[in-house]
């Protein structure tokens, strides 16, 4: 029993709580209710008809390769509005070994400054 009790313990951080087991139990109950509710819905559709084609506002469907939006194009809006940050970051990552060492020297000098040696 003692082991079971310790499994149910709430995880306390000193400013908050988190009890995964209780959350899991409630999630399961709610899931069950919603699942039953969802079961009342209509579950049929017509396979292999026009229905299952993607909706493209009436445009023809291209081949699958072109229909898949590639990884580099994701988050366009985000990278666009913070372009200056990402441009500078790209400039920082040169892939040049000398620069890697230069950064190391820079950090050492900053640390020297902070610790009060220079």
């Amino acid at each position: 029993m003692a082991i079971f009790e310790s499994l149910l313990n709430t995880f306390e951080t000193g400013s908050g709580f988190w009890n995964p087991i209780v959350w899991l139990v409630t999630i399961l109950i709610i899931f069950l209710i919603i699942y039953i509710l969802r079961g009342f819905g209509n579950k049929n559709y017509k396979i292999n008809t026009e229905q299952v084609k993607p909706f493209l506002s009436g445009n023809p469907e291209y081949d699958k390769e072109k229909m898949h939006i590639k990884g580099s194009n994701i988050y366009w809006g985000f990278t666009e509005s913070l372009k200056w940050i990402f441009d500078n970051l790209n400039k920082m990552h040169t892939g040049n070994t000398s620069d890697y060492i230069l950064w190391f020297v820079v950090i050492i000098s900053i640390l020297f400054l902070v610790v009060g040696l220079i």
Partner: protein, 523 residues
């Protein structure tokens, strides 16, 4: 004395010696048969893992183990090497052993079609020996030697696919950075040795003065070890190396990186423990700030990557930022007893808990990336798509990794991040805000991967793709189940594994007193 006690007594030596011996036996064994060799390597790592667990369970109950190589007469100085295992070392060794075990199981199929596998396994075992040595040793010079062993073995493993130019290039960058860092570490060891005529961490810790030369040594040690741990802006070797190594090697490299991280904390808390009141505020804030920029830049760079493994590598950098933030907060408040009791210990247990969570989450994701590479021979996210149709189990493991790394409840990442958020905000609210933001951006990073690799229409070129072999799924399953267990029972993990490690870091005087019983500093 029973056999278990005998094993326990000699385990610090055996944990390093067994992989080392195994490494040199592997080329011989592989003359027999490939299958026998694989079984042999898995067996070696399994025995080591069992020994680590045995040692750790004893260390967590409050004992510090020392193991003396050389003269047992402690009055004669400098004619011995000491292994000293406290809870922090044992904690790190557990992480290392889990990663190694998973890696060798995964390698069985993953690396199978390559040639030169006897050398591969030899290097893996050498890397294991070096890694465990770094974690268990109590001697500064010994630490340097094991660091170099780890670097050399990792470098050779990163360049394992020598037919790819980028892998060789990444290995070259890695070895240049590592040897430079190691030389600076050696230089600072020499600085300490010249002043105190000692190499043992505990002995040095008992007499250290924080003089001018000590400050130089501290700065060089922290900078060099932070570079080995991949702290921004000295992280740039890490995505190259992680991204180009085979996935089964990358997961061990995580362990090697964590060993350097362990070095940073050992230096800050134990080696300079006696002068921690002088150093804690400045060094602590440096570590916190480095952690912050590590998180932000790591995650921002991850967002714009298009190579699967490189992307995960950048998020691994970001995760290390969380660890630095947590432990740096603890270090900053170390001199302030009241605040430290209130939030410092929480922040530190968050940081230390995150070490194990980070290595599991990132490790799982790297294994998934390796599985995708194994099945499709693609690493660029721009060329993938629709793989969830063909690789259902891999997709599920990826989802677990995605949720865990971005700290969505109820995965393990959430528990440690909760500890970090709910303690660092009292030092300064900005710290928690940046941490929450980076965590959300990590989610965005991996949702992008989820879409571009696994979701989307069925691409004709991947029609023949099949699920990866069972050993690889098994290896991923081990990590995934540990992630879920840690996520569901965070309280148990904190009480039984993390808190002893935190206390070992805080009570540095215990570590010193184990070697010098007359030491009276500390609390």
């Amino acid at each position: 004395m029973s056999f278990i006690d005998f094993l326990l007594q000699h385990s610090p030596a055996l944990i390093v010696a067994i992989p080392l011996l195994g490494a040199f036996l592997t080329p011989l064994i592989s003359k027999i048969n490939n299958r026998v060799r694989n079984v042999f390597v898995i067996l070696i790592i399994l025995i080591t893992t069992i020994l680590v667990m045995l040692l750790a369970s004893d260390v967590f109950s409050g004992n510090i183990h020392t193991y003396v190589f050389g003269s047992q007469d402690l009055t004669v100085p400098l004619v011995r090497i000491l292994f000293e295992v406290d809870a922090m070392s044992a904690f790190m060794a557990i992480i290392g052993s889990i990663l190694l075990l998973v890696s060798v199981i995964y390698s069985w199929s993953f690396i199978d079609e390559n040639s030169g596998l006897d050398k591969y396994y030899t290097l893996v075992l050498l890397l294991a020996a070096g890694m465990f040595g770094m974690m268990l040793t109590g001697d500064m010079f010994n630490f340097f030697v094991f660091l170099e062993i780890t670097s050399i073995a990792s470098c050779a493993l990163i360049a394992f696919w020598t037919n790819k130019g980028k892998a060789v290039e990444a290995a070259f960058k890695y070895i240049v950075i590592s040897s430079l860092a190691a030389l600076f570490i050696l230089f600072s060891i020499a600085l300490l040795y010249g002043q105190y005529n000692a190499l043992n961490i505990a002995v040095l810790g008992s007499v250290i003065q924080f003089s001018y030369l000590d400050k130089i040594a501290l700065v060089l040690l922290i900078a060099a070890l932070a570079m080995k741990a991949g702290i921004v802006p000295m992280h740039m070797w890490l995505p190259d190396a992680y991204g180009r190594a085979p996935a089964s090697v990358t997961i061990i490299l995580i362990g090697a990186t964590q060993a350097s991280l362990y070095g940073v904390f050992r230096v800050c808390f134990t080696l300079y423990g006696n002068t921690i009141n002088l150093s804690s505020a400045s060094i602590g804030w440096i570590i916190v700030l480095l952690g912050l920029i590590t998180m932000l830049i790591g995650v921002a760079m991850a967002l714009i990557q298009s190579d699967f493994k490189r992307l995960i590598a950048f998020s691994a950098v970001a995760e290390i930022g969380f660890i630095f933030l947590g432990i740096g907060t603890g270090l900053t408040l170390f001199a302030n007893n009241q605040m430290f009791g209130l939030i410092g210990t929480t922040a530190m247990s968050g940081g230390i808990f995150h070490i194990i969570n980070d290595s599991l989450d990132v490790g799982l994701l790297f294994l998934v990336a390796g599985a995708v590479y194994y099945a499709t021979k693609e690493t660029s996210l721009d060329k993938m798509g629709g793989l969830a149709r063909h690789m259902k189990y891999t997709t599920i493991f990826f989802i677990i990794g995605l949720l865990a790394i971005s700290g969505i409840p109820p995965m393990n990442g959430f528990a440690s991040k909760l500890l970090i958020y709910e303690s660092t905000f009292q030092l300064n609210p900005i710290l928690s805000i940046v941490a929450i933001l980076s965590s959300i951006m990590l989610l965005a990073v991996f949702v992008k991967v989820f879409h571009s690799a696994f979701l989307g229409p069925a691409l004709p070129k991947f029609n023949g793709v099949k699920e990866v072999p069972k050993t690889m799924l098994f290896a991923m399953g081990i990590i995934a189940s540990i992630i879920i267990i840690f996520g569901l029972f965070p309280d148990l993990v904190i009480n039984n594994i993390v808190d002893p490690a935190v206390n070992a870091l805080i009570n540095y005087s215990d570590y010193i007193r184990e070697v010098i019983p007359t030491f009276t500093g500390g609390f």
